[in-house]
């Protein structure tokens, strides 16, 4: 049932985000053409404007993902669509997780699209391929592979930390909205106040993370790799704790205190 709900959420997000992705890639492509046409001369004002637009669109897509996630939680579960969603033969946990997982997935997709959008104009720059033709691909490939293998663990942990941070932020916002929903009136105000309260709690979490990282770092017998690994582990555990805590708050309110108007 969770996979079905995620599929539904992906579709709901996709109808807005896919056209935005298409627009970003189109602007990146146009910027690439602009680079190609004006590569020999001084850069045109057009390329400056296009670069600015591309940067703003990339920034905007992440904001859109966040706003969509919040909007869908509020309208799809606590608004009139909640009559449909809470009538489904599935658990409240599944309803919440489907939204969190979808948000994380669309954040990843947005990051990939942003990276592609940055690479497209660079690849279309005539000098890039000229340089590439002169480069020894075997040597470059070997160096890149060696670096990836060497730092594979760090890359995976880094990605996990970013995913955990996104999930923790989203669940925190969901918890704040759910707490606001306990109010009989002024629910949005209640949600905002709850969010401020939870952010204070977050800062305590971060303080703990800093203390933990400092404690790991100050241990005399550890080498740099062990210190880095220990710090990452502390951060991951704290994000997991945040997700669990805010997830439980959201679940308890939506499952045990639900009062859909």
């Amino acid at each position: 049932m969770l996979s079905k709900l995620i599929g539904y959420e992906m579709k709901a997000f996709g109808r807005i985000l896919l056209p935005v992705y298409a627009a970003i890639l189109a602007v990146a492509f146009i910027l690439g053409i602009d680079f190609r046409i004006f590569s020999g001369s001084d850069q045109s004002a057009g390329s400056t404007v296009l670069t600015l637009i591309l940067g703003l669109m990339i920034a905007a897509v992440f904001i859109v993902v966040g706003l969509l996630s919040i909007g869908r939680f509020y309208t799809n579960l606590l608004g009139r669509e909640g009559y449909l969603m809470f009538s489904l033969p599935t658990s409240t946990g599944n309803l919440i997780w489907a939204k969190v997982i979808s948000t994380v997935l669309w954040s990843i997709f947005s990051t990939v699209v942003a990276l592609i959008a940055c690479v497209i104009p660079v690849c279309m720059y005539p000098g890039f391929w000229k340089g590439a033709q002169e480069a020894d691909f075997k040597v470059v490939g070997a160096e890149v592979s060696a670096s990836l293998l060497k730092y594979a663990g760090n890359i995976v942990v880094g990605v996990l930390i970013v995913i955990a941070a996104v999930a923790a932020t989203i669940v925190c916002i969901y918890a704040a909205i759910a707490i606001g929903h306990l109010w009989t009136e002024h629910r949005i105000l209640g949600s905002l106040l709850a969010f401020i309260g939870l952010e204070i709690l977050n800062s305590i979490f971060l303080g703990l993370a800093g203390t933990g990282a400092f404690a790991v770092g100050s241990y005399p017998d550890l080498n740099r790799a062990m210190i880095a690994g220990g710090t990452e582990a502390v951060i991951l555990v704290l994000f997991a704790a945040e997700i669990a805590l805010y997830g439980v708050i959201t679940w308890v309110i939506l499952d045990r205190k639900l009062n859909l108007e």
């Binding site: 049932m1 079905k4 599929g7 539904y8 709901a12 109808r15 799809n76 009139r80 669509e81 909640g82 009559y83 449909l84 809470f86 009538s87 489904l88 033969p89 599935t90 658990s91 009989t184 045990r256 205190k257 639900l258 009062n259 859909l260």
Partner: protein, 231 residues
Amino acid sequence: MIEIECKDLVKKYGRKTCLNGINLSLENQRIIGLAGPNGSGKTTLIKLIERLLTPTSGEITIHGKRPGKETKGLISYLPDRDFLPDWMRAGELLDFYQTFYDDFDRTKAENLMRQLNIDFSGKLKHMSKGTREKVQLVLCMSRKAEVYLLDEPLAGVDPAARDYIIHTILENYNEDGLVFISTHLITDIEPILDEVVFLKEGKILLHRNADDLRAETGRSIDDYFREVFAC
């Protein structure tokens, strides 16, 4: 067999008591009307059964189980408001129901929608209020559910639409199940009712067999309703 049972059910909003000590047993193979004036607690009771509200105290069981994931699979619920996602198309909504409800009869739903001349590729947000209400009814009645919870399906619709709604309910409900239908428009549904429950100020005023009530009072249920709830 008892489909729905409420024991000492209480629902309060702050200091206001909406339902006060409801004790009710509803059996299957019945069409039962839930009647009462506005604000008597009809919608609250139905939403508690569907678990869209949390009771202040008391207990509800559906098919012997507490409201939750399993009971939601047994209940086909028609709320008193529009719950359709605007961004979906009618066909996508059918896909949605087919995906989530094992007892959803897509062929039946498609036939009913064709009768209403609904375009499957049409966006729900472009449909009129009346059409959207009919779509909701079609979705609800295209399930072979144990319990049909219909909250004010006749409210705010013209007499012709009322006929369509009653006809659709009668033609499509699972006869082994229970239809629990709330309304304050008794006249329209009186002929189809097996039992009637009167709700007044959050309490059960009566729960009788429809024929028995008519025989006892010597009046139609509608006339009796008007007398009991006269302002």
